[in-house]
Amino acid sequence: MTTHTDDTTTARHAPELPVRLDWAGHAPEVYKAMVRLDAAARRGVDPTLYELVKIRASQINRCALCIDMHSKDALAAGESVERIIQLSAWEESRHFYTGKELAALELTEAVTVLTDGFVPDDVYERVAKHFDEPELAQLVAAITVINAWNRFGVTCRMTPGHYRPGQHG
């Protein structure tokens, strides 16, 4: 895979920005709780669906590290390049995704962008047709957790480009 570290391309690229803060090193108990939360929230959530959710939330929150990580993890798990590329325009690329995935992506956007208003009833009702109540509660938690990782990644300016698929299990 060609990455930004490829010798033939780096000469023309801007320099890599330094990490602002090693938050996990300075707050190990917080990091430990995040890892525990991540493990708890992903239980029962379809991993293929969850990678799409994680990439979409990370796009909205513009978390470079998270996009790097979850695109690579999705590809390594056999996700198609097309479905990953089309994610940022999924409303116009509906035929790439199942009805269940589309409903989950719509919920992901609503739960990620709370500042534009509450999670709309129609969005919630659409997703509730595809997930039973415990699954849906778990999906809300899973969307919440990637949002939390996004906040650490962006605020501490964690550097993208160095992630190897499966690195964080």
């Binding site: 707050a27 917080v30 995040m34 525990r36 708890a40 500042t115 962006v154 605020t155």
Partner: protein, 148 residues
């Protein structure tokens, strides 16, 4: 208003509580922690969280004036310390990621008032309250259910 669902996986809830507790402890400033959590909950429109953290702040002796004007803290500078204002600016930036990255000026202002350890926990606290906001708004948990 009724909740859409009250389900929340027990392990998820416990891990979120551990996250909040660890962040709050490492920040070591309860009054500031409540201001941060109230401000994030205002931005995310979380009724349950606002009710809970306003109740907690009042119980801790926070002033009505500081609570009432928190939504306009930039125009009420004399009510909050420079350290608190730096934390509130960071809270807003980290909560609203959709409008751009956390600006260098906001980050540096916070870093000038909080050593790395406290800053890491402050970021953790902002991420934690944002998480509670999402699981409460997503499930539409009505306000008023919290008793200190």
């Amino acid at each position: 208003m009724t909740a859409r669902t009250r389900l929340l996986d027990r392990e998820v809830a416990q891990a979120m509580s551990a996250l909040s507790a660890a962040a709050k402890k490492g920040l070591g400033d309860l009054a500031l922690a409540e201001l941060v959590m109230i401000r994030a909950s205002q931005i995310n429109h979380c009724a349950f969280c606002l009710d809970m953290h306003l109740t907690l702040a009042r119980k801790n002796g926070e002033s009505e004036q500081r609570l009432g004007l928190l939504d306009a803290w930039e125009e009420a500078e004399e009510l909050y310390s420079e350290r608190e204002r730096a934390a509130l600016a960071l809270t807003e930036a980290v909560t609203v990621l959709t409008e751009g990255f956390v600006p260098d000026a906001v980050y540096e202002r916070a870093a000038a008032h909080f050593p790395d350890g406290e800053l890491a926990h402050l970021v953790g606290l902002i991420a934690a309250i944002n998480s509670w906001n999402r699981v409460m708004v997503g499930r539409r948990i009505p306000p008023g259910g919290y008793t200190p």
